[in-house]
């Protein structure tokens, strides 16, 4: 069974540009989460989808970030326009529909904004 995959693995962009990160969850997992780790800081929750619906987006830093999950399968996280402080590693995780189910994480996308 394939795990959670993320694309790209690395992205280097200039301030003001747009970047779109993609996450493919494990097949059949309705829960999908985005997290971010900024350099030197903790991994922080961004948002949670259940199927295609945003269940909790309390961790989204500002309106430059837009997450979508059309069709309830893969998800994208777009940053527009990117700022220097957006640099970090963006993780995606998925789980089955239960409060006690393990979250399986992808390897992350390392975003560098110059």
């Amino acid at each position: 069974e394939a795990g959670v995959t993320q694309f790209p693995s690395h992205s280097v962009i200039e301030k003001g540009q747009t970047v779109t990160l993609r996450c493919d969850p494990i097949s059949g997992h309705d829960n999908l989460y985005w997290y971010r780790r900024v350099m030197g800081k903790e991994i922080k929750f961004l948002l949670h989808f259940v199927k295609e619906s945003k269940q909790d987006e309390s961790g989204m830093p500002n309106n430059r970030f837009l997450a979508e999950r059309t069709g309830g399968t893969y998800s994208t996280l777009k940053v527009q326009p990117a700022e220097l402080e957006d640099s970090g590693v963006y993780f995606c995780a998925s789980s089955q529909v239960s409060q006690n189910d393990e979250q399986f994480f992808g390897p992350g996308t390392r975003l560098t904004v110059l």
Binding site: K41, G59, S98, Q99, Q103, F105
Partner: protein, 117 residues
């Protein structure tokens, strides 16, 4: 609010000696606690989880953790370190969620474990 504090940013042990990674939590209710591990260039992997059953939780690769409510601690231990244990370890508590179908995770800052020959 639910939070965790990992008391050491770096821990170094010799191969074959015990491992102790410390974690204290703060929670306004009975928490669910986890330890995750991240090896270089890999995704986060669940080591073990505590969800109010047995206070001593056994995980993968010989790791275990004990939930101590009186000390608000959830330290991770292993009797004998192996070179392959070198990685970054995260203590995690669930955030309060408005969803009945999942929960967000609140991570500690991480502890890098170095294992020397």
């Amino acid at each position: 609010a639910q939070s965790v504090t990992q008391l050491d940013s770096h821990v170094s042990v010799s191969e074959g000696t015990p491992v102790l990674l410390r974690c204290n939590y703060s929670s306004s209710y009975s928490p669910s606690l986890f330890w995750y591990v991240q090896h270089p260039n890999k995704g986060l992997q669940l080591l073990l989880k505590y969800t109010s059953a047995a206070t001593l939780v056994k995980g993968i690769n010989g790791f275990e953790a004990e939930f101590k409510k009186s000390e608000t601690s959830f330290h991770l231990t292993k009797p004998s370190a192996h070179m392959s244990d070198a990685a970054e370890y995260f203590c995690v508590v669930t955030l309060i969620s408005n969803s009945n179908s999942g929960y967000a995770l609140n991570f500690g800052k991480g502890t890098s474990l170095l294992v020397t020959p």
